[in-house]
Symmetry: none
Subunit: 216 residues, 4 copies
DNA sequence: CATGAATGAGTCTTCATTCAT
DNA sequence: GATGAATGAAGACTCATTCAT
């Protein structure tokens, strides 16, 4: 029956209404975005390490430094969280990928996209691997992919522009796409397996081969 | 003094050599290989439909028409089964991919490999998708990849030969590889999502772009 | 400006000190100790009735009136629970056994210990039988017995004192011990098998024979 | 479809009747006692090492060098085997314990029994520990103890004789018994835990204390 | 908003026993 | 008599989620 003092760090942040004997919260920004982010980071890390079937919510919570039930404050359920995480991650990747690619000619623009992509990969190992795992899992088909695809419209526009300018081979867009991103993605996977290095020379080669493939 | 065959009902199947007074068994395999195969097929199907985290052994057993415990007669545990399934599947794919590719010049040989690969993909949708999911999951890193890689030595030899003949760009093997298989794989994924058709024209295009990419 | 108690329904139970604006909790134990105790009782009962190999966690849970998973809130696993239960039980027995034995001469003190032990046995049939079963099982050797032994230091001290006073035969402590507790334990086993009664006469006899055995 | 030669060690031991085309066994002593013994030994060992709840039939079979189903040739089921093993073991112990104890006076006879018991213990560690574990488990109460008790009638006779000769204290038989065997058993347990040595001196002490306890 | 306890519904795996030879 | 394969039933344990505060 001991009385223990609670540390009053971040969590105790309320006022007491002496009259009504009820407790209010001072800080009205209820949903704490840093917690959400912590949950996302923990999920990505654990998913890459242990896979979908060995990543329980409780583990995620522990790594994120929150209670399991807190996750349910931010997300409806595990699937909901996973899908939102995917969309969030994919969107961030898209943003990086097409940054600063305007106002260049097609070839330079494409080279820039590839370099951006490689930069993103190198700076976001876990995010990249998570995207790969998710994309190749049946979770993907449950998703309304439209939203994810929107993040990549710049790529479609790029190809469209190239076609208009007559610099690409006369093949379907899908065929062109297949020789732009997938080879880089493959190289990245080898990179993270320790089998490949993104040296300047190799990056140039990758860009060169992509261009050779698609250019008329 | 001949060797007579004793009537056997189903599994016992031996002959007695009266001279030597020793017993030989024909077909020592008491374990029924068809059960193993049924387990494999069920696993692939369910894994593609529901993913790693929603494919319990009980479901696999039910689909395979065996008892859950029977799976453990053939495999140590779930992981063991998954890994053996992967290796088995990968090996079969490798065999198909490099069939009938000898005695051609490099370009034709490469085209044949691509066509073989596309044929395999179209005839083995589930196997292909399973390989993708597995490859992009953390299960992969638990695996001694050497064994899986052996199934693809013909590809390495092909590239090596091309390099000796001086027909490829002067870039690393890994860069070359990245423009041969990954684009096809990507197209296949779109194909199974219903976004792409493997028409003759498109297959030719894919081959053409691969060649454009890697040839000097 | 006093300290007022906020009405609590069941578990939350805190007071607010309006001056210091800090919150104290009374009774931090959110985990309900009565559940733990119920689990212990159920385990002992079932173990005595059915043995180690026929006492599943599910049965224990049912008898304790909790969910099987609740047991894992309190214990790491079955072994952990069993060991903690043993230690807990042994400690309680030790406490009873050596209660009110100070300030007597050796002979009286020893008689008191024996009487205490018999009292404990009669009042704690299930606990006693559980201890016997556990002690004679391989679980015992997995245990760091040191902790269990600590509960019996009074016995060692008693023997040590008797030796100093020169009232015991000149034999090893272990030999002395063997003629104090084991005969009582054996009688108790017969008692619970319905083959023996702890009458006053018999209790006196048991004490007398123990003393005859060890006294010089 | 390969033909494999089977090693013809111990198992192939039959004649072939060429006319009837059927196979007979030469060795007509069907139940192979050595197998039963091997099963017993394996069971005792594993039970002492792992306990009742962690000793599956399959493990016993493996240790005994037989197939699991072979155990069912000799015993109805696991319980049946365990009980027969207990009775068999207890009987063997009883036989050793009362060997060569005739024609001595009470005191010598009792000393001999104790020495026999200690000899048995030292030569049959595993059997002894198994008996302890079994005796203190609920398996015991399922047993018709009468059979087991019969092996110990010599002890009852000994006590009866002593009482007739007027050398024992005037207490119940059960009280006397309690100071004969249990102390030795306790010492034995300590012995196997490495806490006690059966030196000549200690054995003499044990006998001396037993006699002090029970003699008038 | 945040949380620790609690749990029902599963999950993987084991195992005593039977079956077919 | 002996056996390896097969399995139904059960066991320990997990986990997404909810509850009560």
């Amino acid at each position: 029956m001991t009385v223990k003092k609670i540390e009053s760090t971040k969590k105790l942040n309320f006022r007491v209404d002496y009259n009504r004997m009820t407790v209010y919260y001072t800080n009205m920004r209820y949903k704490d975005n840093s917690k959400k982010e912590a949950i996302y980071q923990a999920t990505i890390l654990l998913l890459n390490k242990d896979g979908f079937s060995a990543t329980p919510m409780s583990k995620i919570a522990k790594h994120a430094g929150v209670s399991p039930s807190t996750i349910y404050v931010y997300f409806e359920n595990k699937d909901d969280m996973l899908k939102k995480l995917y969309l969030d991650t994919k969107q961030k990747m898209g943003a990086k990928m097409f940054a600063d690619t305007d106002g260049m000619d097609i070839k330079a623009s494409l080279a820039k996209v590839i370099r951006n992509y490689i930069d993103y990969i190198r700076e976001n190992k876990e995010a990249f691997l998570f995207l790969q795992q998710f994309t190749n899992s049946p979770y993907m088909s449950e998703l309304d992919d439209q939203e994810a695809n929107n993040y990549f419209t710049p790529m479609y526009q790029l190809v469209k522009r190239g076609r208009q300018e007559g610099v690409f081979k006369n093949v379907d867009d899908d065929v062109l796409f297949a020789y732009i991103e997938p080879p880089i993605t493959e190289a990245a996977k080898r990179y993270f397996r320790g089998e490949f290095e993104f040296t300047d020379v190799r990056i140039k080669s990758l860009i060169e081969l992509a261009w050779s493939a698609i250019k008329k």
